[in-house]
Symmetry: C3
């Protein structure tokens, strides 16, 4: 054990000046840019009283805050507790999982408010923000949390910040292309968040391939308690996913419908995940990896179509399929990706986000293509797909085609963007740990020296296991 | 230790084909039935624009989604995180607690949407669902989670699914009798959820009595960390109970009142629980079992009456009493039930749900019987008890009588139903574990082999403690 | 180790009669006082139908319940899970942290409903309560949870209840002086909750100074898992703080604006905290103490000004500064306070609540003084600062002066009140533990005897570590 450890120590993982520098410069930049560009939108501005009169609104209830704030808070919990705790399954990377997720998300939402603001909320030289912008910023950062899952335990916090910076930028461009240029619907982000985020992260981890990663294999697993911490993340993601998919849908029936479809899809997904988890294991035992992850595939897979008239049974079908695909992915695809394609995917985001994201994009395209005025009602049809203005004459089948194009664009952006960003992250200046120190909090965190430590810190170079 | 273990191994607990078969067949059945019956209700359907015009609604805010969705999400958290984590107190059954609760609830809500839909939301051959149906499905499954508490650690996942199937069915029938035939008020489910669910579960566990359960006595306790995990469940149940009791009350004052009454009752309950927990222990130390459970009795005990004019001080009284009854129950009744009546109640649901549920039913009957037009106002009185149509002439005292009848009906359904379902679960085909393997995740779960395992797995038959 | 332990055992920490007596007497008093004084407010009363007609309200949505209930639930989670779990970082005081927090908060909210009710909701001899009262009661108790952080692990549950009784009373008086007499704005409670609560707690812990506390130094740290439990508390506080600061703001734009400002401030705070945590440590490693606490300073520091036109970039600046101040406080001030001023501050509330609370008060005063009709609009200006009635002629700069006066009053109340209450708590009748038994759950809790116990209970006097 001596040699690789010393080899590892040769790598400079000291963050003392690099991390503070990046964080502080970044925050100063944010303050300047927010100062120049960001202002309250009309519904959050103190001029709202006048605005209300102008718009002839009789109640403060008409403020978008009351339509979206509860959903926003649910989404917020998903990003910080959901993703954060889902990744605490590793036995010695709990601080990194929840702490770095916290760092990159807090970093990313500020940049996302700007990037998305320039594209979508820019008026008279100012970005006017409201609760919907907060949700969208959380969404955008969600795609970074997904990508983080692929490289979990193998990167320095600075690498994560650099990745966040670029990924938020690319996310916003991709989102602009899909929503504005292609006029695609994707309220729950099957394409923009999951497909893009996952394939971006997979490309990055491919570029950062570590041939000697088996040196830290003993730390790549879970312990009993870390699996329970991870279940906190899983359940909050699962429970609040109906809010995720409905958070930015149109007021009224669309939000209502999104929540119901997602609820149904997720319920079905749990059953097929449990079925296949048991079936694919010789002794029929359930595997926590599947329960923690594949049960969520149903939420991803209706991300695009939840606000459409997918119907409850349609949701059950989609949820069932995605649970199966995801579980099978964990058993067969992940080992294949690692051994053959050199894609080391710590959390298995390929199974939880990439494949279900693709399913979600396809289901969305089909559901859109199959839409009829009969099913949606004349007004509902126009409202659901926003067939107004220049899109007045677009037909459902054309919309389906554009939806499909959205998948392709997201994939391209992910592959190209991920390759470039992966290349940047490969530079030897970011302070990532050596292979044998991956998945280990001690590298970047003060870890308490406690009575239990002898059990845990066997490989702690500063403290011999047997004195 | 050798003999019983081998005896245990003789039992076939392999789930490999049975569990997948049940899950997949079930999901296919759900898809077919949803396809035939379930559609979006008018407020979730894309025709809502037309509906709005017809109903003369001026704002999307009038969509029921905005009245109930925040409460729905709170209830959702209670079912999956609340019940799930409350049961993680066992030292080696955390995966089973949170995982099987997840499985049975996801299974049950689909069936509940159908069963309750046929009884309450059936129009022109279709079940029309909206957010209130989602809440009711969660409620229905809540009664199964309660019953699960009695048999926790002693049943196979298939037994749980079979029980869920039957219990959801019986719940829906009982609910129909109470709400529609007896015209009883029970918004927070003291009778339909807690009394029914708890006595159903207690009857099932009585039928499944295991005379040799002391063989796994060492695993029936908690460890330090598992008690903290359980507190997550407790607190989420406690905090969100005001949402639970108000989730399906009438819009406006009734929801508002329910939340306040429940808040008050729960606050009082914590104090009396702490008082009796300390008083009933020789050294005056507090017992986590009481804090985790009896503090919640106040929510159960105002389940029926919270939406009535119980008043804040009335809530304090009910909460105080239920905390005392519940704590005393843990100290004296649970051991009595086990030794004399052969009722092995793992989580003590008799103290948390059965007794407080009965209190809740009785308090509801009294509060209803004591109602006057003076206290409620003329319109409020009619609205609170829905004294319209054929019930126009019903008096408060008659209503009180029907409320009391609701308790009796719920008890009968629970005993008879529990006995039948218990008998079915006793069949030797479901793969339950031998007595000495109860309360042990290894039977049905892949458990991580970690450094700590030597401490934990002393009794693991596959791996001797001392090599 | 023998002498101090026996010395410790000489202290009578048995709660058997004292704790039940206090709890039960208290609850009886609450029932009587609620019976005499507390009634439902018009929006929770069954007469609401008539009220609606009188007020010409066309929709149940106008009930304050729908404007505030989602925020109330978020605040509720912050008080019980947020504060409770944040304090579980101690390796052997998890039960006490989450359990005593539960006890004192449940005790305090009842008294707060009365005290605040007499001051703010008293009409015709009755306190009329609604959802806003529930939020305010939670807020009031929040200040006690903060003070609890300073004395965590060193006091008996009875001391905590006595402190709660007095602190809630003083809080309500201070709040009355600020909000009603000085006409100060403080929706998120930088002054009333954080400054008052923190300096009150620091004064109490100064009075209760324990010179021999290093005897329990081994228990004052965290272990790996306890730090993860604490992160649950941190994240829920962080995520829901926008709800905290906006919960009792005016309907519409003020609630909306508060949430946005708080969101921005907190995001910035995370980055500067991470930066300084790394910078101030020789090896550049991050310290969980900072991440768990200083990341929250941004929420405290915009508590007063969040509902004003602070603007998003203003929030970023305030959040950035407060993260730096708080982290520096943990590294330099806390040791100084302990060694020089004999202030033993277990959780470092001086850094998380006291300093950021002062910042918050000052920022509020400046923001108010800088307000113009141009920025707020004519009506918005009057609405934001409630410049009506006798305050019609108050100018922004005068308002700023009164805001500053509010800080001074809060500090005085905290110091004087804390000194008196600290003196009362110093009486030798409350059953606090000896210095060497501090930070140890065994004193007041039944702690499970598990296989792991040999590791943990090294110092357990009843069970020798090596048999």
């Amino acid at each position: 054990m001596e040699r690789p450890r010393h080899q590892g120590m040769a790598k400079n993982t000291n963050m003392r000046w690099r991390l503070p520098l990046v964080c502080l410069l970044w925050e100063v930049a944010m303050i300047v840019l927010f100062g120049v560009f960001v202002r309250f939108g009309p519904e959050a501005d103190a001029h709202w009283e006048e605005e209300k009169r102008e718009l002839n609104l009789t109640s403060d209830m008409e403020n978008d805050f009351y339509f979206r704030y509860p959903s926003f808070q649910d989404v917020h919990v998903m990003i910080f507790v959901g993703f954060g705790f889902l990744m605490t399954f590793l036995k010695r990377y709990g601080f990194g999982a929840v702490g770095f997720n916290f760092l990159l998300a807090a970093f990313g939402i500020q940049w996302a408010l700007l990037m998305q603001g320039w594209f979508h909320s820019f008026k008279n030289g100012k970005i006017l923000i409201g609760v919907e912008n907060l949700i969208n910023a959380d969404f955008c950062v969600g795609s970074v949390c997904i990508a983080f899952g692929a490289i979990l335990g193998k990167t320095s916090p600075i690498q994560l910040l650099v990745m966040t910076l670029f990924q938020v930028t690319l996310f916003s461009v991709n989102e602009y292309i899909l929503l504005n240029l292609l006029h695609v619907k994707d309220a729950g982000g099957s394409m923009t968040i999951h497909t893009f985020g996952a394939y971006f992260g997979l490309t990055v981890t491919r570029i950062l391939y570590r041939p000697n990663l088996e040196q830290s294999k003993d730390k790549q697993g879970s312990v009993y308690h870390s699996d329970l911490f991870a279940m906190i993340g899983t359940l909050y993601l699962w429970m609040y996913w109906p809010s995720f998919n409905s958070a930015i849908s149109e007021h009224g029936d669309a939000q209502h419908r999104s929540a119901i479809n997602t609820y149904c899809s997720l319920a079905a997904c749990v059953l097929t995940t449990m079925a296949f988890s048991s079936m694919l294991q010789k002794k029929g035992k359930l595997d926590m990896v599947h329960i923690q992850n594949a049960t969520l595939a149903g939420g991803v897979a209706v991300g695009t179509s939840a606000e459409m008239m997918l119907t409850p049974y349609g949701s059950l079908i989609v949820g069932s399929i995605s649970g199966i695909v995801s579980t099978v992915g964990y058993v067969y695809f992940t080992p294949f990706l690692e051994s053959r394609l050199h894609i080391q995917d710590t959390c298995g985001i390929h199974n939880l986000h990439a494949l279900p994201g693709l399913i979600g994009g396809i289901v969305g395209a089909i559901t859109a293509a199959a839409a009829t005025e009969d099913v949606y009602g004349k007004e509902g049809f126009i409202k659901a797909f926003d067939f107004t203005g220049v899109y007045q004459t677009r037909t459902p089948s054309v919309q389906g085609g554009f939806q499909a194009a959205g998948i392709v664009v997201s994939l391209l952006m992910a592959f190209v963007g991920g390759a470039i960003v992966g290349g940047i992250l490969k530079l030897p200046i970011w302070g990532d740990a050596a292979a044998e120190n991956c998945f280990e909090d001690e590298v970047y965190w003060e870890v308490p020296e406690d009575e239990e430590s002898d059990v845990y810190h066997m490989h702690n170079p500063d403290k011999p296991a047997s004195p």
